[in-house]
Subunit: 359 residues, 2 copies
C-alpha cells in the first residue's frame, strides 16, 4: 500500500470544512473533526478519515441529522438517558460524557446511557475526557452486528468496544480501548486490502468452522468474540460484548443485538427495530470520591512503573501499559504527519470535489 | 476421581458450624457459608467447600479476622470505600454490596471499593444481590498473582474475575461471572488432579513459551490473560485484569498487582505491600434510573429470546445466555445433591475431627 504523509492540522481543517458543508454548527463541526481525526493521530486508522465518506453517505441517506436537538430524557443525581436525535455519534457522545462528568462532580460518579445515536469514532476519546477532571472515564458503544456468539453461526453483536481511562501522576494515563472481539474489524479490513490471510481464531465460516479467509464475512462468516473458541474463553468475550450491548442499547432504548443499525448506508435498516438508533454508555468516577487524588496518582505511578519493569519474554524490551502504543504513535504523528493510504487520499479528494472544497 | 453426593443443606450446615468454631458471629457464619456453598451449588467447585480448609489456615495464621469491625472510611452520595478489617471476604463483600444497593436506591447508582479484605468466594453471588432490587449488579476482586501480562514472564495479576448480573422479566437473569484469564485457575487445578495436559493457550513456561503442562505454575510458569497471545488479543485480557486490579485495590487502598496477599497461608506475605489486604469493587445501578423497569425487562426478555434462538453451529442445540450453565447445574444439584470429590470429603472430615464437629 502507498501512503501520503499529511499533517494532523490539514486533516483536521479539511474534516471540519466537510462537517460544515453537512450543515453542522461550527461547534459541532469542530468537535466532530477532533474526535474523528484523534483516531488517525492515535494509529486507529480504521476509525478516522477513512470513515468520513461513510458518515456523508449516512447523512445523504437521511440517517444522520446534523442539526440535532440532543437532550436528556430521564435523569437521577448519578444517571441520565440522552436522546441523540439521530445526530453524529462524534457529537452526541461528548455531550453525554460531559453530563457524566458533571454528575460525578456533584455526587461522585455519573453514568449516561444514550439512544438514537450513530457511530461515535474511537471509544478512547470519550473515556479520556474524564482525565483532566481527575476522574476515571469509561465509554462503550454497540455497533452493526458482525460477531457470532459462542456456538452460533449468526451475526448477533457488534465489535462493541470498551474504553477505560485512568489518571496517573508523573506517568502517562492508563488508557485501555479495545473491541470485545479477538481482532477489531479494522484489522480484518487491513488484511482484505493486502489480500492476506487472517490468523486462525479471528473469524469463522458460515458453518461455524475456524477460517483464515479475511473476506469470510461477505460469505456468511462472522468475527469471533475475544477468546476465539469455547476452550479459549470465547464465552467471556461474548459476555463482554453482550454487556456492552445491554448497557448501551437496552438500558437507553436504542436498537440492540442483530437490530443495531448498520454503518454502511447501502445496507437496509433491520426490520422491526426494538429501539432508536445506536446506543452508547459513558461513565465518570471522581477519584477523590474514593481516596485523595494525590494518593491515588502516586499509587498509579507505582503500579505503572512496576508493570513496566516486569520481566519480559525474549524479544521484548519491556511490558507495555494499556495506552502506550497509541500515545507513542500520536507523539510521532503529531511531529511527522499522519500516513494516509492513497485509496483514502483519493476518497478525500473526491469528497472535496463533490463539496467544492480543496484538499 | 470419585465423588460423594452431598445435599446442599448438609454442606451449608457443616460450613456454618465451622465458621462458628472460627469465632464468627451467627450472622457472619450464616452469610459466609451461604456465599461459599453457592459456588458448589452453581458448579464452580474450585471456589466452594474445597477452599474451606484454606480459609481456616489463613485464620490460624492470623491473616483473617473473624470478628472484624467492617466500616465505611470515605463516602459521597454514589460512592464509598469500605475497610474490611481483615475480615472474611465472604462477609465483607456482601456488606459492601448492600451499601452500593442502598446508594443506588438514593441516587441511581452505588459504587463501593473495598480494602483490607480476603478472598470473597464467587463474584457472581455478590453481583446477583442486586437482582431482587431491580438493579444491575457488578462485582470484581483482585487476587494472588498468577497471571503474566502480554510480553511478560512474571506473575503480576490475579485471575481477577468480573461478574455482571442483569435482571430480566419472564426469562432468568443474565449473569456473567468469569476470570479475566483464558481459563480460571480452578480449571487448571482440575487438570492437575487428573494428571491431564492443558490446552495450548492457557499457560506459558518460565520463558514465556506456550505450554501444555498443567503443573507449569509450580515451575516458574504463569496463567495467560484472556486471548492467550498478542495475536489473539491477550493485551485485552491483560487490560481487563488490570482494570479489575486498579478499581479493586488502587482505588480503595488495598494491595495491588504482584503485592496482592496470597491465598495459601504457607506463602509468605509480599514485602513492601503498598496497601492493606485484598481489594474488591462492587456496583449497583437501579434500572429505573435509566428507564422504567418493566420496559427494560420486556426488552431483556426479547434480547434473551433472540440470542437463544440464534442459528447454531453443528452439535449445539441452542446458544447459551451467560448464567445458563450455572443455573441449570444449580437446579439439578438442589434436587440431587452436590457431587463432592473424595479428596474434599476427606478434607472436610479432617476439619470436623480437628474442630470437634461431625461430618
Amino acid at each position: 500500500m502507498i501512503y501520503q504523509q499529511i499533517s494532523y492540522e490539514t486533516l483536521l481543517e479539511f474534516t471540519k470544512s466537510v462537517f460544515l458543508q453537512m450543515d453542522c454548527s461550527i461547534h459541532d463541526a469542530d468537535l466532530a473533526s477532533k474526535v474523528l481525526v484523534a483516531a488517525d493521530l492515535r494509529g486507529i486508522d480504521s476509525h478516522g478519515v477513512a470513515r468520513l465518506s461513510g458518515y456523508i453517505r449516512l447523512w445523504e441517506a437521511g440517517r444522520i441529522n446534523t442539526t440535532p436537538n440532543i437532550r436528556i430524557i430521564h435523569e437521577t443525581p448519578s444517571t441520565a438517558v440522552v436522546d441523540g436525535d439521530a445526530g453524529l455519534g462524534l457529537v452526541v457522545a461528548p455531550y453525554a460524557m460531559k453530563i457524566a462528568i458533571e454528575k460525578a462532580h456533584q455526587v461522585g460518579t455519573g453514568w449516561v446511557s444514550v439512544q438514537n445515536s450513530n457511530h461515535f469514532g474511537i471509544a478512547g476519546y470519550h473515556a479520556m475526557m474524564a482525565l483532566e477532571h481527575d476522574m476515571i472515564g469509561m465509554a462503550m458503544t454497540n455497533a452493526s452486528a458482525l460477531v457470532a456468539p459462542t456456538f452460533s453461526t449468526e451475526k448477533m453483536l457488534g465489535t462493541n468496544p470498551i474504553a477505560v481511562s485512568i489518571p496517573a501522576g508523573e506517568e502517562p494515563p492508563f488508557v485501555a480501548d479495545f473491541a470485545t472481539t479477538t481482532a477489531a474489524n479494522g484489522k480484518l479490513e487491513l488484511l482484505q486490502k493486502k489480500n492476506s490471510d487472517a490468523p486462525l481464531g479471528w473469524v469463522q465460516d458460515e458453518f461455524g468452522m475456524g477460517s483464515v479467509d479475511a473476506n469470510i464475512l461477505k460469505k456468511g462468516g462472522s468475527l469471533l468474540p475475544l477468546g476465539s473458541d469455547r476452550e479459549h474463553g470465547s464465552h467471556k468475550g461474548y459476555a463482554l460484548g453482550s454487556i456492552v450491548d445491554i448497557f448501551s442499547a437496552v438500558l437507553s432504548g436504542a436498537s440492540y443485538g442483530p437490530w443495531a443499525p448498520p454503518f454502511p448506508a447501502y445496507v437496509p435498516m433491520p426490520e422491526n427495530m426494538p429501539g432508536k438508533g445506536l446506543g452508547h454508555f459513558l461513565g465518570a468516577m471522581r477519584i477523590d470520591a474514593f481516596r485523595p487524588a494525590s494518593d491515588f496518582k502516586m499509587h498509579m505511578d507505582n503500579w505503572i512503573k512496576r508493570f513496566r519493569a516486569a520481566k519480559t519474554s525474549e524479544g521484548h524490551e519491556h511490558v507495555l501499559i494499556p495506552g502506550d502504543p497509541e500515545r507513542i504513535i500520536a507523539e510521532q504523528r503529531a511531529k511527522e504527519g499522519i500516513p494516509i493510504q492513497d485509496i483514502v487520499v483519493n476518497d478525500l479528494k473526491s469528497i472535496a470535489g463533490k463539496m467544492g472544497l480543496s484538499f
